[in-house]
């Protein structure tokens, strides 16, 4: 009788798994979020690095209100939250738990998971502001409190420090061991993971430093310490490729294929094109970024919210949104621009415009090469920039190129823009899109009602609107 009833073990699931299987799911869920319709599209459009085309029938808006004029679906908020907290974060937390509980412990797997988790936490807080962190991902706490953004950002720094202390390059135990492919970022190269962890610390500190100037010291430490090698070559880039196989293609490509007959939905945004057109020589990235209509001499970006005209306005280049195009999460040029900014602003180091200039030009050349410009052309273009005429000019120029470089990276561009200056002085200065509701411009995603607010008694009770600034955003 007892045996007859002992059938409550699922034939479809596993009670034990290798943590790499959770890590791989978290990675793919994360890259999909960053390159598809819940995060990439709405933030790219609202953040003005992409353009929806207004009433252009084959543009993203297609005549209907879209995120470019601040019409957001609740799905964006809910799905982004779920992708980061559940599909991504929860699986990494399990991977960390299983790795550390294993005998012997798989320290590298735990540390790799922590670095990826830190990236997700950074994205969560830069998207939503104050969010659960210290009490998140704990099965025993059903209603996590919301931490202020400073606490969350400090938390990502702590996670990265934990990971750095935990990495064990000598150990054969890791995700991506024996080149099994499960480390989609670095194929199990722990040295690269350590460099990435330090670079991510720098990125976080730079996001915090305007609001919390005490972070300058830590920035100085990172930049000064030669032993603290950060990302220092294109082989350190985190750019995970998609595959040119149905249902494994980059969503940026697949969305156009599925809904627009293969025609790219997105137009060149005027604020991006304007910076590129203002360069001292023709920006060789223009044809890499955009497909110019036949017969057009110049690249004419679309004013945010305005109607795009097929004969005049370029769309995002088919080559950029190719089927196997990678999801880019961290690049060498980003590192170089960041270091250039550190020296230009003197954050924890003395102001050194010369060094900043060198790093900036190096970064600009790397950016060009990253998008497929030849090394020669990249060199010519980057050296066409005059030396910085002063600190303000240096910071402005660096910020402009940081934003342009991240044109196709949705949230990354938007965060860069928000931290680039005080309200109204961001780089570039953006204005309310045509047709958007009156009021301040886009600053964040609103909290997801369904997946968090309505279920969490500890969640903020007042609605935080999309145009309210968050802690780091001055």
């Amino acid at each position: 009788c007892k045996k007859y009833l002992d059938i409550n073990t699922s034939p479809n699931t596993a009670e034990q798994v290798d943590p790499k299987l959770l890590f791989s799911y978290a990675t793919v869920a994360y890259m999909n979020l960053r390159s598809s319709g819940d995060l990439y599209i709405p933030i790219g459009l609202a953040g003005q690095s992409l353009n929806a085309g207004g009433n252009n029938p084959t543009g993203w808006s297609g005549g209907d209100p879209s995120p470019d004029i601040y019409t957001f679906s609740a799905n964006f908020f809910n799905n982004t939250w779920v992708s980061l907290y559940v599909r991504g974060g929860a699986n990494l937390q399990q991977a960390i738990k299983l790795s550390e509980a294993a005998s012997p412990a798989n320290n590298n797997a735990a540390a790799q998971s922590k670095v990826l988790l830190a990236m997700m936490v950074y994205d969560i807080t830069t998207t939503f502001g104050d969010v659960p962190f210290t009490e998140a991902w704990k099965a025993e706490i059903l209603y996590p409190k919301f931490d202020d953004q400073k606490t969350v950002l400090e938390g990502t720094l702590a996670l990265l420090d934990q990971a750095l202390a935990q990495f064990d390059e000598a150990s054969p135990l890791k995700i991506g061991a024996n080149n099994d492919g499960y480390d989609l970022l670095y194929k199990g190269d722990i040295a690269k993971w350590k460099k990435l962890a330090k670079s991510l610390k720098l990125r976080t500190l730079l996001t915090m430093v305007d609001k919390d100037p005490s972070k300058a010291a830590a920035i100085g430490t990172l930049v000064n310490d030669a032993a603290q090698a950060m990302v220092n070559g294109v082989t350190d880039n985190v750019a995970i490729p998609y595959q040119d196989v149905p249902n494994k293609r980059n969503p940026k490509y697949a969305i156009s294929l599925q809904y627009n007959g293969g025609k790219n939905f997105f137009f060149a945004s005027k604020p991006v094109v304007d910076i590129m057109n203002a360069a001292p020589s023709v920006d060789p990235r223009l044809p890499k970024f955009f497909d110019k209509p036949a017969g057009q001499a110049t690249y004419i970006g679309v004013v945010p919210g305005a109607d795009a005209v097929d004969a005049i306005n370029p769309r995002i280049a088919a080559s950029l949104h190719s089927p196997a195009a990678p999801e880019v999460m961290y690049t060498y040029q980003e590192q170089l621009f960041a270091e250039a900014e550190v020296y230009a602003r003197g954050l924890g180091v003395p102001v050194d415009l010369g060094k900043a200039n060198t790093l900036f030009k190096q970064g600009l050349a790397e950016s060009c090469k990253f998008f497929g410009v030849s090394a020669t052309e990249a060199g010519v273009f980057s050296t066409s920039f005059p030396a910085f005429s002063g600190q303000a000019n240096a910071v402005l120029t660096i910020h402009e190129q940081q934003w342009v470089d991240k044109m196709d990276r949705g949230l990354d561009a938007f965060t860069q823009w928000r931290r680039s200056g005080t309200d109204g002085s961001e780089v570039p200065v953006l204005t309310l899109p045509i047709g958007a509701p009156a009021g301040p411009i886009f600053r964040r995603f609103e909290y997801p009602i369904t997946n968090e607010i309505s279920n969490n008694p500890n969640a903020p009770k007042t609605t935080v609107r999309y145009n309210e600034k968050m802690w780091f955003d001055l």
Partner: protein, 1031 residues
């Protein structure tokens, strides 16, 4: 050779003649009635041996024909109320001995105005039972709730009663198949409505349907008892010569309620049709130019033609066809002293109101019993149903084939008759879309290409062996099985906007129930006055479920739905198994046939619960007291019974909930895209569970009591049945939705309770009764009050969420409610307006109304005149709310009639604006009425919430029993015939929702949630003809 028999029928009580008594030749439908003097005369064929005399309120009497005079003396049935009711586990008991409320519907009640889903026949007829059709889809699902929802969670057995056929519990699930593709909405009733499995039952094979409402009635089902039971007895052959019954219905359907449209404005944006004279409008709405003002201009339509704008007021109506249904059944039955048999066949062919929507259902049933040796009887009942449905329209959202929004969203200037022939361009081989944007699917492209279909093959049946070795002892065993395979497929043709590369999915769903009950019955008279009946039983129940689902994407050859023709195929499979063992007993005592006491107990062991928590005991006690037996005879009061019961039952949970387990993942989600399937770059993936498991889960526990009375007055011309019940379902097994910052979407735990208490009243009246004419009136009323209790640390939680911030929640001290975004109001209740825009401000997560109605009522009138009968049923629902996405779309798109108001004028919304700490009247006009109505977006829940009350004319039937003498002269082989005109859902007499029928629900029958309409297929009105012949 016929002879004429005459006689007089008198009342035993006073010896007076009884007029209007039905006199039937036994075994046929041939009969007559007594006249005012109680006399009758009937022509009897030579083979007939008996006459039966029946009269309402009196015991039927059967007398042998001897000589040419047969006199009958009828006895009022208050003396000998021997109505037998089939109760739990197939136990037949005298109605008067029951200590709880039971309602039985006879088979002919169900085949009056036949419904393809037999559950719908219960609507409005049984107090305390709420039936809601989920959509107007052919073969669509219907939800049944008895005495209020008792559970927080969803699932086919969570709030729905169990269905039992001849002692065999059968499946009534409504599977929601989650596809990974663009059709990411579950393909159950939430996507296409694939029906619920009770819809497989055939009303022509049903002898009776008994609704056991309270837990005391169902306590013998133990862990499955808490939501009541629908106990069905199938038809058996009757002793006598073989009878052939033919029943044929032809019915026609149309849309019960269509939206009211404006017919003055064309499509466009803020009054402008399109960006240029040679460009088609990108908008599917009514915000373009005023048609009458642009008669001097031409515009480019979706066909590229230059046209003068013109409204087609009936364009939406023209889209719908007249639905046609043909139900034909034939049955053969007969029997002798040692056995009986019945064979039935029913064919249903239905064409829906949506083009290409079709359903075919064939049912074969066989029921035979035989006495094989003294005291030993065997009986078997086998039923095979095959249902084939095509063109099930897609509802709700997130699928390019969602039909209702396309049809209701047609600009007023599109002529459907032209559209019908212009959905496919023979030159380009492409769809002719309505707009160049990514929302412009042509509805005829959708209905002609994107077919969502299913095929169900189902067999259920049982074998019963009964052995009666001693006259006080019966041993019986009932072994049965119910299994089906359902194949579902949904195809989206290449070129469909929203899935240009095409896709399809196919699912095989297999479900099997095996059930065995071994029963031992001891029936002993202890003394002259005291009888004892003891029943002992042992039950084994197993349910196995398996599903294989394949999603194919990016098709190559056009319209070839083969996996080899797809760029990517993702296959997922799942299965689960559950077992329950139970030992039960029922002890019944009766004293002098007026005092009855029943005690039952059942111990269940469920495989789904942790081993240390899996054994549970469920007791019940019920008593009935026919107090009128002790009263002196009275002219005005002829029967009175009091009843009371108490029961404690429970329910287990789904399989595999107790362990933390990792699931293999087939694809990672990406909004608007195909996502990424694994292996991805060569790697596989697993995920931690969405729900935190619980190692200490307990069964849910339901305690209930019920008291009631049955009273009959004036020779049973007034029958009153009143019940009060109170149930408390505690230790709810819930998937408590968690804030997802926990990393989980839910936690499985025992928490909270649902209290339902209510009153049910049934009143039967015979206001008029003469020799030829009778007026019967049955009125039922039920009111259920639900009250939730949650742990103190939990203010509320979400039972289910719709899109866009809407959720169905439970909150302490309240009933299940709909919550969502609401208009912001000041303390005085004025709408708060944004000074900058003139538009209203909103707040999130407000309670906006009760999900369930306050009360339900039904009024059924039957007028009989000689062989003719006219009946009509009025079904009333009062209270509760419904959210309508369709209304939202009609308004935001400027197509609804009310959007004409104030167009082109300065409009200042009535409300207040904040001025410091106080509010002052708003003076800011809205920019345009298009902006004003845009506030009624689907994300604004309150703007689209309506009172769900209704009064409906549910059923009308006119029938005429052709007098036997017609056949006696010409076609003697016909024993009886009846013709009828029937109508279902004829008229919404009153409702408070614009544009849609308030009876709709996109959540599906298994979900606890109701009250949300999301592009639901509109309900239909049905009128039909019926002829029934017995040979």
């Amino acid at each position: 050779q016929d002879r004429t028999i005459t006689g007089t029928v008198t009342d035993k009580e006073d010896g007076k003649p009884l007029p209007g008594v039905t006199v039937l030749i036994k075994g046929s439908k041939v009969g007559t009635q007594t006249g005012g003097d109680g006399k009758y005369a009937i022509s009897v064929p030579s083979g007939s041996t008996e006459l039966s005399f029946s009269y309402l309120g009196y015991t039927v009497q059967t007398l042998a024909i001897s000589g040419s005079t047969v006199n009958a003396v009828l006895e009022s049935d208050s003396k000998a109320l021997t109505e037998v009711v089939v109760t739990a586990v197939g136990i037949a008991r005298q109605a008067k001995s029951l200590g709880y409320s039971v309602t039985t519907l006879k088979g002919d009640e169900l085949t009056k105005a036949r419904e393809t889903n037999v559950i719908n026949s219960l609507a409005g007829k049984v107090s305390g039972v709420r039936v809601t059709a989920q959509s107007g889809t052919v073969g669509g699902s219907s939800k049944i709730i008895i005495r209020g929802a008792s559970s927080f969670n969803s699932g086919s057995t969570s709030n729905q009663p169990i269905f039992v056929i001849d002692g065999l519990p059968v499946d009534n699930s409504s599977q929601q198949v989650n596809t990974i593709s663009t059709s990411s909405v579950p393909q159950g009733s939430a996507g296409s409505d694939y029906g619920n499995r009770a819809g497989d039952l055939n009303s022509d094979d049903i002898e009776s349907m008994t609704v056991l409402k309270g837990a005391a009635a169902t306590a013998l089902y133990g862990a499955r008892a808490k939501n009541g039971a629908i106990v069905i007895t199938t038809k058996k052959g009757k002793k006598g010569q073989t009878t052939i019954t033919v029943n044929s219905s032809t019915r026609f359907d149309n849309v019960l309620k269509l939206p009211s449209f404006q017919n003055e404005y064309a499509q466009g944006v803020q009054g402008v049709y399109s960006s240029g004279p040679t460009v088609n409008s990108s908008s599917l709405n009514g915000w373009g130019p005023k048609i009458i003002e642009v008669q001097d201009k031409t515009f480019t339509n979706y066909l590229g033609q230059q046209i003068t704008l013109q409204a087609y007021p009936d364009n939406v109506k023209d889209f719908y066809n007249t639905g046609k249904t043909y139900i034909n059944s034939v049955s053969f039955d007969g029997g002798g002293d040692s056995g009986d048999y019945r064979f039935g066949y029913t064919n249903t062919t239905q064409d829906g109101i949506i083009p290409n929507e079709k359903l075919k259902k064939n049912v074969v049933s066989f029921n035979a019993g035989r006495n094989v040796a003294p005291g030993l009887d065997v009986r078997t009942n086998v039923n095979y149903t095959r249902t084939v449905a095509d063109g099930r329209p897609v509802q709700s959202s997130n699928n390019p084939s969602v039909l209702q929004s396309i049809v209701y969203g047609l600009p007023r200037t599109i002529d459907t008759k032209v559209l019908k022939d212009n959905y496919f361009d023979p030159v380009t081989k492409q769809q002719i879309a309505l707009t160049p944007t990514r929302t412009g699917n042509n509805p005829y492209w959708v209905v002609n290409n994107n077919n969502f279909s299913n095929v169900v093959d189902r067999v259920f049946g049982n074998a019963i062996v009964t052995y009666k070795p001693l006259n006080w002892l019966t041993i019986s065993n009932n072994l049965g099985t119910d299994f089906y395979n359902e194949f579902r497929r949904g195809v989206t043709r290449q070129g469909t906007i929203g899935s240009l590369t095409g896709d399809f999915y196919a699912a095989n769903i297999y479900n099997r129930i095996i059930n065995n009950d071994l029963l031992l019955t001891v029936d002993q008279k202890l003394t002259e006055d005291l009888s004892l009946k003891v029943i002992g039983g042992y039950n084994v129940f197993e349910n196995f479920y398996r599903r294989d689902l394949s999603d194919a994407q990016q098709l190559i050859a056009d319209q070839l739905y083969n996996y080899a023709n797809a760029g990517s195929v993702v296959t997922t499979n799942t299965s689960n198994q559950k077992r329950i063992q139970g030992v039960y007993g029922d002890v019944g005592l009766s004293y002098k046939d007026y005092l009855f006491l029943n005690v039952t107990g059942r111990n269940d062991w469920s495989s789904t619960l942790p081993a240390n928590n899996r054994s549970y005991f469920y007791p019940s006690i019920s008593s009935s007291f026919v107090f009128s037996e002790l009263l002196p005879k009275s002219e005005w009061f002829n029967y009175g019974k009091l009843r009371a019961s108490y029961a404690n039952v429970g329910s287990d949970t789904d399989p595999y909930q107790g362990v933390f387990q990792y699931s293999p993942i087939s694809a990672a989600f990406a909004q608007y895209g195909y996502g990424s399937t694994f292996p991805f770059n060569g790697v596989l993936a697993f995920s931690s569970p969405a729900t935190i498991p619980n190692l200490n889960l307990k069964p849910q526990n339901q305690a209930s009591y019920e008291v009631g009375a049955e009273l009959r007055f004036l020779q049973s011309r007034v029958n009153l049945d009143v019940t009060y019940y109170n149930t408390n379902t505690s230790d709810q097994i819930v998937r408590l939705p968690l804030p997802q910052s926990t990393g989980y979407s839910a936690a499985l735990l025992n928490a909270g309770s649902v209290k339902n208490s209510g009153v049910e009243v049934s009143l039967g009246l015979i206001p008029v009764k003469t020799q030829d004419f009778t007026w019967n009136m049955d009125v039922n009323f039920s009111r259920n009050v639900q009250k939730i209790e949650l742990p103190s640390n939990l203010a509320s939680y979400s039972l289910a969420s719709g899109w866009s911030g809407l959720s169905i929640k439970a909150e302490s001290g309240k009933s299940f409610g709909i919550y969502g975004v609401a208009w912001l109001r000041d303390d005085a209740g004025n709408l708060v307006i944004d000074e900058a825009t003139g538009l209203r401000k909103t707040v999130s997560d407000k309670r906006l109304g009760n999900m369930s109605p306050d009360w339900l009522g039904g009024i059924n009138n039957t007028f009989s005149y000689k062989g003719a009968s006219l009946s009509f049923l009025v079904d009333i629902r009062k209270g509760g709310v419904i959210y309508s996405n369709s209304v939202s779309s009609l308004r935001t798109s400027g197509l609804a009639k009310e959007t004409l108001l104030n167009r082109g004028r300065v409009f200042i919304d009535k409300g207040v604006v904040a001025s410091g700490s106080t509010f002052v009247p708003n003076t800011t006009p809205v920019t345009s009425m298009q902006d004003y109505w845009a506030q009624y977006t689907t994300t604004n829940t309150e703007a689209n919430i309506f009172d769900a009350s209704y009064v409906k004319l549910r059923e009308v039937r006119l029938s005429y029993q052709i007098p036997a003498k017609v056949f006696q002269t010409s076609v003697k082989f016909i024993k009886g015939a009846e013709i009828g005109v029937e109508g279902r859902n004829l008229w919404i007499i009153h409702d408070n929702v614009p544009h849609i029928d308030p009876e709709a629900n996109f959540f599906g029958t298994e979900s606890v949630a109701e009250g949300v309409e999301f592009n639901s297929i509109p309900s239909t009105r049905t009128i039909g003809f019926n002829i029934r012949i017995k040979i």
